[in-house]
Symmetry: C2
Subunit: 422 residues, 2 copies
Amino acid sequence: MNMLQSPASSDRIHARYWLETSESPAKAAEIIAGEQSSGTFLALANETAELKERSGARVERLTVLDTVDHPSLPGRYAAGARFTRCELELSWPLGNIGTSLPNVLATVAGNLFELQCVSGLRITDLHLPSAFANVYPGPAFGITGTRALAGVAHGPLIGTILKPSVGMGPEQTAAEVQKLIAGSIDFIKDDELQADGPHCPFEDRVRAVMREVHAGADRLGRKVMVAFNLTGEIDEMKRRHDFVQAQGGTCVMVSLNSVGLSGLHELRRHSSLPIHAHRNGWGYLSRHPALGWDYRPWHKLWRLAGADHLHVNGLGNKFSEGDDQVRASVQAVTEPLWPHAPMHVMPVFSSGQTGLVAAATYAAAGIQDLIFAAGGGIFGHPAGVPAGVTALRQAWDAAVADVPLAQHAAARPELQQALGFW
Amino acid sequence: MNMLQSPASSDRIHARYWLETSESPAKAAEIIAGEQSSGTFLALANETAELKERSGARVERLTVLDTVDHPSLPGRYAAGARFTRCELELSWPLGNIGTSLPNVLATVAGNLFELQCVSGLRITDLHLPSAFANVYPGPAFGITGTRALAGVAHGPLIGTILKPSVGMGPEQTAAEVQKLIAGSIDFIKDDELQADGPHCPFEDRVRAVMREVHAGADRLGRKVMVAFNLTGEIDEMKRRHDFVQAQGGTCVMVSLNSVGLSGLHELRRHSSLPIHAHRNGWGYLSRHPALGWDYRPWHKLWRLAGADHLHVNGLGNKFSEGDDQVRASVQAVTEPLWPHAPMHVMPVFSSGQTGLVAAATYAAAGIQDLIFAAGGGIFGHPAGVPAGVTALRQAWDAAVADVPLAQHAAARPELQQALGFW
């Protein structure tokens, strides 16, 4: 799917869709545009031409792709109906809702997926007027802020996720962190299943983990960045954030779909730490290609609302997304939001990552300003965690230098050994 | 889909799924249970039997339904794979996350939809330990509080949605409200596309509309309830709520998917007015039957987080959901959450509603404690809005008395005339 060619000078909200419809595409486009602005199922006398001109959504572009015999989504279609697929771009006047992300969501992705003439609908891009950048400052830390706090000036941040995901108590968690810091890792995160349960209370975990981070800092000369999952209600998140900060922590993590756009924005307003944004639940939003969300429009909302690190899955991942989808996500997340307000974030790669995909990942991202999180790719190293971390760094060095892994491994025993198990 | 037989005495979190998998169902169930608790893709030494016993998710039930040749969702399956469909129930110890709704979401609907062995996954029910009722008080007003504020002791609240959805300024909106109040309507709501845009600023709209509501109250002896859409960022929502309250308003409305669970809960904590909860975006969560959410588990989260009125679509609606789905939603929303903490909310029926579906709606709901919102069903009445509202009330009287509409209409000209255009 092509990216939306930014209507940079437009003061309207633009959204692009992949649409499949039982109607003629032109009629379906008008139905959707009407339903999502001034129209409704019935023609109303007070929807005047003037009102429609002022507030109606506009069909900016409609390109027919092909026609099929079977609908992608079940529904109540006429017998013998055929289904036309097209690319649709709509726009809305900013005056309808103003610069409000929650209301952008209701406008571009509200009731339209349920329309009877829609047999498939997926939002593929979103472009907002730059006035949004005045209201939503985007990531407070992004790439440079994260690098400064992590004490990692160059190269990817080599990271991992604490496992088992849930079940370890605070001290057991701290012991795992201690091993990882001893291995000179850059970044550690809670699993999204680990929050503030009675078995591993948030504050006890943060306290125990930060003890190790501070001890490690004496040796490493930098504080390993740990993303503590503070997902919860607004007051809880603020309290947990303040606790992390008071303990000298440098990152907090939140599950985006759990707290919502308003939740993230409120956390962003309160936070003085980078926000590691987890996309768990992404599957129910995206897994059927004829329904829901592409990553491109979806991630823009969260980026604008304040995410500093955004998950993009990983190449060769263990989930269902193919590499093409991951590459599209990486491309989206590394593009500037606006020329004057790029709002760069750090993409987070995870799920079955090893040094074997470093070169392809570097090719996809075009930058090293990313978090590369591996589990088995580190812990599986026969010489232990430090060698696992070193091997990942070596693989990235090879990728950046455009040297084949095997060649680079010749004088580097950690990488050499890693190639045997990755 | 059967409802989850409440494991009333369980102190675990239970979720039920419709699952389609390329694996053997037993293996797929274990993979999902592992991924969503202590396990991961690799066997880890520190995932001890003790830890697993304490924190692992448990497969409570697995019932194979059938096997098919083609996957419901695309993915990377082995050539020649067949796909088995089953009902799966999992449970988690409360100790993993504690009584936190945002973390329930990440646990029961996190990364599992993306698993490679999953060719279809839909969450069909959710049961939480009653400890949640101690932390989340649910709706503050629900049925009785709404009836008291609306001044409607019996029968459904007859309502409508302001149209055109967006484009009217404050005074034009107030003029529409004035007409509806003159017609003795019970309930009016903003469209979800109408928020706080520069063309119709929230405070100006509320002020103008409430002027009409107060004027109408002098005549009706009750304040018509108007749900003002305050969807926005947390601070904006609180400010707008306070303004509505200061103007004597009796209801606020919010787009659930826009503000998230944490956003709704924070609004609930702040609010001293009923919260009218709009589900726009429901289509992208539910439209493919092999993916995402049934209404039953989804609505429970929002109900617990504080929704007072919950949209359920309507019978014979203009969207894509069939009547069976609507009936299932109505059944879910009218059941108690727990025997000691039922947390009853008002279901909201809308989309192409007329008196013709009153009897079927009453049969589905079993109660008259609901909001029945019609647009064309009121405005289309040849004798005007008052007759349209009266005709809807008459249709509901007939439904409750179990009298055929035509018979009931004989001595009631408003209903008689309505039957000609509904």
